[in-house]
């Protein structure tokens, strides 16, 4: 079953379209990266899923059920613009937020204590948020997102503003939550996190979804049949089958070349052809990084 299914969602503002017929499908148990440049419409989509704003058109289902107010308790949301009540104490604050999510006072207190224990910050219960450091407040904020054990967790730019220690902590927590069966969606610019964490991605640009799929499929689709070769002795492999993209001189006659096969073929053939003209030390297919795909697609769009 899909944790989230978005079909034809459109949101129009007075002078611009924030989302234009967007479809996405988030399989249960996945870590789903929602990518896109600033202003692409990611936050609008996330706000619609969280029922903060309404879509003009389209349909959203969560675990097979049409989006409704009961889903508030199913979703854990960490907005990009985040904060806490400065004057409230940590414990009081978390209980308040948990009760707004529909937990009883007793359940909220038990779970929050467990989380504070887990993060080794038990003695913060009676501390006011304004007395906490930024990093400490981030932990509290994260607890507020997950304390009601949501099946679907949505994190908007979760690593912006988090220090590396907390970013690591949260990465670990995300993986633990996934193991426990939660589905996680996060929007981000940070491509290295996408490489590390996501198994599915979607790319939104200018209000439209331009790419979606598993990370593996996307990468396969954007393979350019280019191979990276370290070798001794220069060669010029320019013919009907191959194109020499670059050749860079390293130390002691060593060189590094990128060779592209004009049509998909067997790498074995390329190795054979290469050994005839040079001495090969290493050979690997060059797989595009998410960052390269992202830039190619977004740039390509804006050049149209």
């Amino acid at each position: 079953m899909d944790a989230l299914l978005v079909k034809g969602v459109t949101k129009q503002y007075a002078n611009h379209t924030a989302l234009d017929q967007v479809d996405i499908r988030v399989p249960e148990g996945s870590i789903y990266g929602l990518l896109g440049p600033n202003g692409a419409g990611k936050t609008t989509l996330i706000r619609i899923i969280n029922q903060i704003i309404n879509a003009d058109a389209g349909e959203i289902t969560i675990f097979g059920e049409k989006l409704n107010p009961n889903h508030i308790g199913v979703i854990g949301y960490l907005p990009e613009e985040r904060g806490l009540y400065k004057k409230l104490k940590v414990g009081e604050q978390l209980i308040y937020l948990a009760r707004l999510k529909g937990l009883t006072h007793h359940d909220a207190a038990t779970r929050i204590k467990a989380w504070l224990d887990r993060f080794e910050i038990k003695d913060w219960w009676n501390k006011k948020v304004e007395d906490l450091s930024k990093g400490m407040a981030q932990k509290v904020q994260f607890i507020s997102t997950v304390m009601h054990e949501p099946k679907l967790i949505i994190l908007d730019e979760p690593f912006s503003g988090f220090d590396p220690v907390n970013a690591k902590l949260i990465t670990d927590e995300i993986l633990t939550l996934k193991k426990k069966g939660s589905t996680i969606i996060f929007s981000t610019h940070r491509m290295e996190t996408v490489e590390d964490l996501c198994d599915h991605i979607a790319l939104i640009n200018k209000a439209k979804k331009i790419l979606e799929g598993t990370k593996k499929d996307v990468k396969a689709a954007y393979k350019t049949n280019t191979f990276s070769v370290s070798h001794r002795g220069a060669f010029a492999l320019q013919n009907g089958t191959y194109e020499l993209v670059t050749q860079v001189k390293l130390e002691d006659d060593f060189l590094h070349s990128l060779v592209r096969m004009k049509e998909a073929g067997s790498p074995n053939q390329l190795i054979q052809d290469l050994t005839r003209v040079t001495e090969v030390f290493s050979f690997a297919e060059k797989i595009p990084t998410m960052s390269e795909i992202f830039i190619t697609l977004v740039k390509g769009e804006s050049h149209e």
């Binding site: 979703i75 985040r82 904060g83 409230l88 707004l100």
Partner: protein
């Protein structure tokens, strides 16, 4: 609904647990009377100890008798120009020039001063002339003071209102004036203080950016209503504590001075049938009126108009708070909200209390934006039922409208950061679909 209740609870506890609430609630009923007592005391002392100003005068007439109760008059012999020079060099309050004039036509009297004198100074001097001239005229007409006293008759009209049931009630418009003024001012203060608190609370939520976390759990409208209702209950609690404190204090203080609280005394008097005998004494009249005012009626009306007016303005304050990023930015939008409040506040003194049944007063007490303050000014003066009913219905309709209006701005505004907001932008937000 359940979630609004949680927010109401939170807001209520947040405010009530603050030290500032406790201090304001307990101290204001003590501070106000104390402040008033101090002011009266200072004013009395100042009057007692005031040094009299010296006025130089040039008298060319025969009709001036220096009365030194208010000023010290020092004669100057010489021309007006010489007098002006002497006045310039000396430490005088003024130079009074009295030319020759006819008793029937006192003209040309001039007071030269360095600073503008107060109207009372001028009228004090005028009275000196008037009294003296009157005495002279009486002498000329052979009227002595005794005869004049005989001519004087004092008439006092006592006002008795007859209500529909034929019950008679004495009333004293001065007491009603006081009640109306106190009610109006209190209403103005409450609406302003608590309205501003709503706005501040919303700006804080927006600035600390906690708001998006909250609206992912509750509808923006629920959050807004929760905040407004929460603060209203704080206001009501504070008001009730004040009522209890003030009435207890009055009883205690009066008891200390050997008096009883007006109502108690009244009741005893009625019991003992002394009322008729004691009638005619001014203080007792006052006590009588005081006890005949329908306090329950006034209190209930106050509560209704407080809740209605507060909800009406609270929603507008909430809309402003949601639109801006800082309290400083809020100023520009405060203006149109403050205008009707200020109008009703000033109208309270200029029209409503002077002429509670005048056309302007009636309309101000019916139009929802001004009615909370205006109606409080009129409430003691027997407002016709249809006016009260119309005013109340319109107030309810008014706050439903402003709440709806504010809700539409609020839901967009709270999620906007760093936008340059003007009225056009507000209109755009208002028109925006969910």
């Amino acid at each position: 609904m359940n979630k609004i209740w949680l927010i109401v609870q939170r807001e209520f506890l947040n405010r009530v647990q603050k030290k500032s609430f406790l201090i304001a609630t307990i101290l204001i009923p003590l501070i106000f009377p104390a402040l008033m007592a101090i002011l009266v005391y200072v004013a009395v002392e100042q009057k007692k100890n005031a040094t009299k100003e010296v006025i130089l005068y040039i008298n060319e007439s025969t009709y001036f008798k220096a009365d030194t109760s208010k000023f010290i008059f020092k004669p100057f012999e010489g021309s007006l120009d010489d007098g002006k020079r002497a006045f310039d060099h000396g430490e005088y309050f003024g130079l009074l020039y009295i030319p020759t004039f006819e008793l029937t036509d006192p003209k040309g009297i001039t007071l030269y001063t360095k600073i503008s004198p107060s109207p009372t100074d001028i009228s004090d001097i005028e009275r000196i002339f008037e009294t003296h001239i009157k005495d002279l005229k009486m002498e000329a007409l052979h009227i002595d003071q005794e005869l004049l006293n005989k001519l004087k008759t004092s008439v006092e009209i006592s006002n008795v209102k007859i209500s529909a049931g034929g019950q008679e009630k004495s009333s004293d418009s001065k007491v009603l004036f006081g009640v109306g003024m106190a009610g109006g001012i209190l209403m103005y203060m409450f609406i302003f203080i608590y309205g501003a608190q709503i706005m501040q609370g919303i700006i804080e939520e927006k600035m600390s950016k906690v708001v998006e976390v909250i609206v992912s759990s509750v509808r923006p409208f629920q959050l807004m209503m929760g905040k407004i209702i929460g603060l209203a209950s704080v206001g009501l609690l504070q008001f009730l504590i004040w009522i209890v404190l003030i009435s207890t204090l009055t009883t205690v203080v009066l008891g200390y001075f050997g008096l009883q609280s007006p109502t108690q005394e009244m009741m005893q008097m009625t019991d003992q049938g002394q009322l008729a005998a004691a009638e005619g004494s001014g203080a007792l009249e006052l006590i009588k009126t005081f006890s005949q005012i329908n306090w329950t009626y006034i209190l209930l009306s106050f509560l209704f108009y407080f809740i209605g007016g507060y909800l009406l303005y609270g929603a507008l304050f909430a809309a402003v708070g949601s639109a801006v990023d800082s309290p400083a930015e809020a100023q520009q939008f405060m203006f149109p909200i403050t205008i009707p409040l200020l109008i009703s506040y000033f109208a309270l003194f200029t029209f409503i209390l002077q002429e509670p049944h005048g056309t302007i007063s009636i309309w101000l007490s019916i139009i929802p934006l001004t009615s909370p303050i205006a109606m409080m000014g009129r409430i003691g003066f027997e407002v016709p039922d249809w006016q009260l009913a119309l005013s109340m219905i319109l107030l309810v309709a008014g706050f439903i409208f402003t709440t709806w209006f504010a809700g539409r701005i609020y839901r967009v505004g709270i999620l906007m950061h760093g936008t340059k907001v003007n009225y056009k932008v507000l209109l755009k937000w208002f028109m925006q679909k969910g």
